[in-house]
Symmetry: C2
Subunit: 737 residues, 2 copies
């Protein structure tokens, strides 16, 4: 460190001075400054050395906490902060125990539902839970989880194909029809080995989640997050995690930076980043959309793009009716940029009240299903894809919409993608389902909620059973990583999901079902679908809803129980128990501070830096560049602003980028290439700084810190049980003579 620090300062200062400093001969001020610097450095080193000695003494007790593999060779030395003494967490054992029981209970619940649905669950957490799993805790179908939860990761997605994936449509290459039947029962699709006789006799043995068990678990969770003592326990632990990270930085920042510098070639610009939350219809920035529209007006003036009362309108005519010329158009006239007035104004829905009728622009340019079969939308998305491929290191997971109004939505969407060859190695799809049942119901398009579910899921089962009948959809699905659930979470919810709630087929009331209801039935059907797809060797899907952007806290409970990761999670800052659980389960949280800044939470109050310091699995995403970003590189803009406003170090930035890849839906093969062949392994074993530019020190710190937390919790429970047993034995001896 001492040899390194001066060079570190010098290098930066050297090239940054806006004017040259005379080459040689020292002068008073310089010497002064230099001496000050030297003093400070040696001071720092004294402190560091002192810490090392001090911590060395402590470290034995501390190392005992860790699984053996921590002590393998090649592990980087760094300054560790450790706690010794009896009461490791500063609260009486009984309080610790109560809290621990609740936390472990919650983690088991998540593990159960994530495993059941073949989504991935944090391996470290799983290994600690395993040690307890033979204990008399309600494990449900827990036994089958570890295996799947581990293998899931490897098999979720096909590797990125060298050849264009949409090209091999030859039916011969398609997997055959297996002739199964399927129908929806109580809102969940059931599968039968015979199309003609679908009854219990022919029903396929798949693990179907059980509604009553789910409601029970949900109630456990709800009680648990408002439990006072548990709340303050989790709050203390989160505070502890913050301060511990501050100390880690003070002690190791220089080492982390040195490690990054040692890596040849690699820097923040050329590590892989995934924009894990971005909507296809607004993934281009305003200027891009504007230029595209102008080009289209020049290129296809005569093309019929819209039909008004049976009469076709050319692009030219459309603009004439709005009396606008290509020249007139400006970003201001499009007026799609968020501004002060959008703050706390999520009501994005009054398009149809738009008097000057630009909703036509939307229909023509950013819809897949219009008179030109989404040609323009396809083209502009492909332009975005081309930019991403040129950037090489930036990747996105674009949201496309499935509404559930008709049965053919999936096929139409897939046909659009295949027809216009909308595909890129830098892009994967998520399908977002807007929670708009109430709207369709009022419009008499749907008579009950189950119809919505059928429109969303039946096509997916049909294509999985017989790909040859939905060829485009089969190919398209290979690039779909999962489902998103979207709408304004701050909308009031009048209904509470419980055993009395009507089943989907009987949900015919005006009110929209609550968030939890939507999420459960999406989860349930996805779970069955995943088992069927796994059987056929197809890629499985995950649930990654918008969650905790606004509205009631309990959305975050549903998210915790059912989804692999979430978008936003802002409200975790108001729910310490859930925040602590999201940390222990390492649930991915795709945050978009610029989007929040315009809608719900001003930038410098955003909790991202706090989450990051505590070790939650957060990443940066743009959400909606069309509205919120100015430059040609929205993701870089998002990172830049975060770095500037919150003074993030290069190491923090690279950690965020690595998280974004980890929580993304790109294939195991791709991730191994981006993060290193062992990225699945725990701790620094799983890190390859040559690819991630994240120092092993940082990864080790995160891993050790989490092990310490998990150990604290699980050990408390084990100790308690041991005592219980010895007591028992005690009472036995004292039995009647």
């Amino acid at each position: 460190s001492s040899h390194f620090l001066p060079s570190y300062l010098a290098e930066r200062d050297m090239l940054s001075a806006p004017y040259e400093f005379p080459e040689d001969s020292p002068i008073e001020q310089l010497e002064e400054r230099q001496q000050r610097l030297q003093r400070q450095i040696s001071q720092d080193n004294k402190t560091l050395l002192w810490c090392v000695r001090y911590l060395k003494e402590q470290s034995q007790a501390f190392m005992d906490l860790y699984p053996k593999e921590m002590e393998r060779e090649g592990e980087k030395e760094y300054q560790r902060v450790s706690i010794s003494g009896e009461e490791k967490c500063g609260v009486p054992f009984t309080d610790l125990l109560d809290a621990a029981k609740c936390v472990v209970k919650a983690l088991f619940i998540r593990e159960k539902y994530i495993g059941l649905s073949m989504q991935s669950f944090c391996r470290t957490t799983a290994s600690y839970l395993e040690e307890l799993s033979d204990r008399p805790l309600d494990m449900g179908i827990y036994e089958e989880i570890p295996e799947t939860s581990v293998t899931a990761d490897q098999t979720v997605h096909p590797p990125v194909s060298a050849t264009h994936p949409y090209e091999n449509q030859d039916p011969a290459c398609m997997p055959p029809d297996i002739g199964y039947g399927c129908k929806m029962v109580n809102g969940v699709v059931h599968i039968y080995t015979k199309k003609d006789s679908m009854d219990t006799s022919t029903e396929l043995e798949l693990p179907y989640p059980d509604l009553s068990e789910y409601i029970a678990d949900m109630n456990v969770m709800t009680a648990l997050i408002i439990n006072g003592p548990v709340k303050s326990f989790c709050y203390r632990r989160l505070q502890y995690l913050s301060s511990k990270f501050q100390m880690h930085i003070l002690l190791n920042e220089m080492k982390e930076l040195a490690a990054q510098k040692k890596v040849p070639h690699r820097d923040f610009y050329n590590i892989r980043k995934v924009d894990t939350h971005i909507h296809a219809s607004s993934c281009m920035n305003q200027k891009h959309l504007l230029r595209f529209i102008k080009r289209a007006m020049k290129k296809y003036p005569g093309e019929i793009v819209h039909v008004e009362r049976g009469k076709g309108q050319t692009l030219m005519e459309v603009f004439q009716t709005m009396n606008l010329t290509a020249f007139d158009l400006s970003v201001d006239t499009l007026d799609m940029h968020a501004d002060r007035n959008t703050f706390h104004r999520f009501d994005k829905f009054n398009a149809k009240y738009n008097p000057i009728g630009e909703s036509i622009l939307r229909e023509i340019f950013i819809k897949t299903d219009n008179h030109v079969e989404g040609k323009y939308f396809g083209h502009i998305i492909k332009e975005v894809m081309a930019d991403l491929e040129e950037s090489k290191y930036q990747n996105v997971e674009l949201r496309l919409s499935i509404y559930g109004r008709q049965r053919d939505e999936w096929d139409k969407l897939a046909q659009w993608a295949v027809k216009h060859q909308v595909y890129s190695n830098n892009v994967r799809w998520l399908l977002q389902v807007p929670r708009l049942f109430d709207v369709y119901h009022t419009k008499k398009q749907l008579s009950n909620f189950q119809e919505l579910l059928e429109n969303i899921f039946m096509p997916l089962f049909e294509v999985t059973i017989d790909p040859t009948n939905h060829r485009e959809l089969h190919l398209f699905l290979q690039h779909v990583v999962g489902f998103d659930s979207v709408d304004d979470e701050s909308k009031p919810e009048h209904h509470c999901f419980n055993m009395e709630s009507p089943l989907p087929a009987n949900w015919t009331e005006e009110d929209n079902p609550p968030y939890a209801y939507y999420l459960y039935y999406m989860y349930a059907n996805m779970t069955v679908l995943n088992h069927l797809r796994r059987q056929r060797g197809f890629n499985t899907l995950v649930l990654r809803p918008h969650c905790g952007e606004a509205g009631p806290i309990h959305h975050l409970v549903s998210g915790f129980m059912l989804s692999e990761n979430i978008s936003h999670g802002l409200l975790l800052r108001k729910a310490p128990v859930l925040q602590y659980l999201y940390y222990l389960a390492q649930i991915g949280i795709a945050m978009s501070p610029l989007s929040n800044n315009s809608l719900f939470l001003s930038y410098h109050r955003n909790p991202l830096p706090e989450y990051l310091s505590r070790g939650l699995m957060v990443s940066l995403s743009t959400d909606d560049p069309l509205q919120f970003h100015f430059t040609k590189e929205p993701l870089m803009e998002e990172y830049s602003i975060a770095a500037q406003v919150w003074k993030l170090s290069s190491c923090d930035m690279c950690e965020l980028a690595r998280n974004s890849v980890l929580m993304s839906g790109f294939s195991h093969k791709v991730k191994s290439y981006w993060l290193g062949p062992h990225y699945i392994k725990e701790g620094q074993e799983g890190n390859d700084i040559r690819r991630t530019n994240v120092p092993d020190i940082r990864v080790a710190y995160r891993y050790e810190t989490m092990c310490e937390e998990l150990n604290l919790i699980t050990q408390a429970i084990r100790t308690d049980e041991l005592e219980a047993i010895t007591e028992e034995e005690g009472t036995l001896c004292m039995g009647p003579v």
Copy 2:
């Protein structure tokens, strides 16, 4: 407004919704929301209408305050905030009067020095001062000012040349030698009609600033800014200006946005912007420099780029001695990015203590004067220029360094520029002079301060007298707009500039002269130079120092008295009197919040939004993209972050951009093209929204508000003088009978 508001919301919300909303048929929630919206709108309108009525009543008294031209036709109607009643400014007349006298005094002082040096002074302020100028106030050589101060603007710079300016080097095309002589007397160059006999008899009649008068004025200013009552008066006025702007926004925001939308084609992306503060040696971002270095290593491995003890080193060898390959290099190894550790650490000077010797990189790649004659630096600057030209709307004023160690620095620099054809219509030069006399003196390179001044200024007089003898310099100077003065302002200053201070020829002590001393002598020589250049019909230069970034407040006094505009001005937030004066004189302030964020002041505490709301002439600049910016568009990045963090409206952004052009050194012809042919005119007459995208409403508000301020001040003085006269008459009548 009412017709406009819903469409305004609808448009944005319509296109921003990440998923499509069903076309027709209203539903409960929607109606609810819509009604809420409607209620709110009509509410707003009621308020607006009410305000209009109220303000109409008030407006007569208010309109009387304005020069007649305000009432010309075509003036946009908007909601005006006006104050009626006797005590217009909420303080007793006597307090107002005392403050007014001080403020006016200060403005006259600035007007005198700015006029004398042929820099430009705010016309509106000048016109108000003129009304007082026949009053018995110390006017110095004030009489000759208005003319120059106005014409200056038109003649400062030659129009952008269609043909390449560096090409016509034919001596025949050069202006002839006029055979004058010049020598420096007491730190200021004097000019004589004969080379051989330089004495008072042959001395040219040019206005030389008078040192004793300057010191006197400086003392007046110093006393004035610490005067308690004046301080609180100015503080109140600044507060008033803030609140008035808030009201203006609440009443007119919608109208401003509507006006911007009405303008065809124009938006924030295609209005002209000038980066008015950026250093050439760090104008490229890190990634760009890195790529350039890698390319150079591939392209010129064998080129001798550096001489170590008489032995030439090829580029290849240089990197071998650092044992680095092109592949190894990364942004981290270059390590030129500011981070947490640069905060309050301006010591950029320890390059030579750099153990791994990358200072060589600096010498090879970002210096004009090295073994390859600055070839690489020339090339990378030309790449930056190409990007700017491609962007079309972004322009920069790059700083190059003159140190004043040798007499030939100017010629060498000009030869570099001409040899490598480093020129762009999007770029102008400023010459920055680091305040490093103490360093050169200790190194025995200079024996007294006058030598530094001679090295900096004599060549400029020689080339102005005889361009044929310094052809490259003559051509190069046509693209130089002025001087910058740079160094760490927070360095302690031991000396106070007064009549006892040694003259430059006698300044031989260890200490560096103080900021005020440097600035005065740069100003004095520039003033003489400008008069000579004007005589010859050459472009004149202006003073635009770094000022008020840190250190003592009185730097801002020197800046106020001597410079056309300044960079940074952060400390104005702690000096209400000066801030008010900078406002009334509309002194340009080029601010760089990202640079400050890394060095002196964290982002959200930066005063820029406050300055802007009060109407100070602020602009956004990058200072140092190499250190502070991430994307390929540093200036857009700077704007984007400001807009996001401070929630600036599109109108605010466009106002900032317009300010940047106004305060820049681009020629009158260019500005007329960028801002509109009448941009020199006062108020909205001078604005052309079709080019600036700034609504007339905003410009009118700024103009009227400033007139109101100036009127308040000057009227107070006039009233007082009238009373004085009438009293006199009174006493006369009552004289002895």
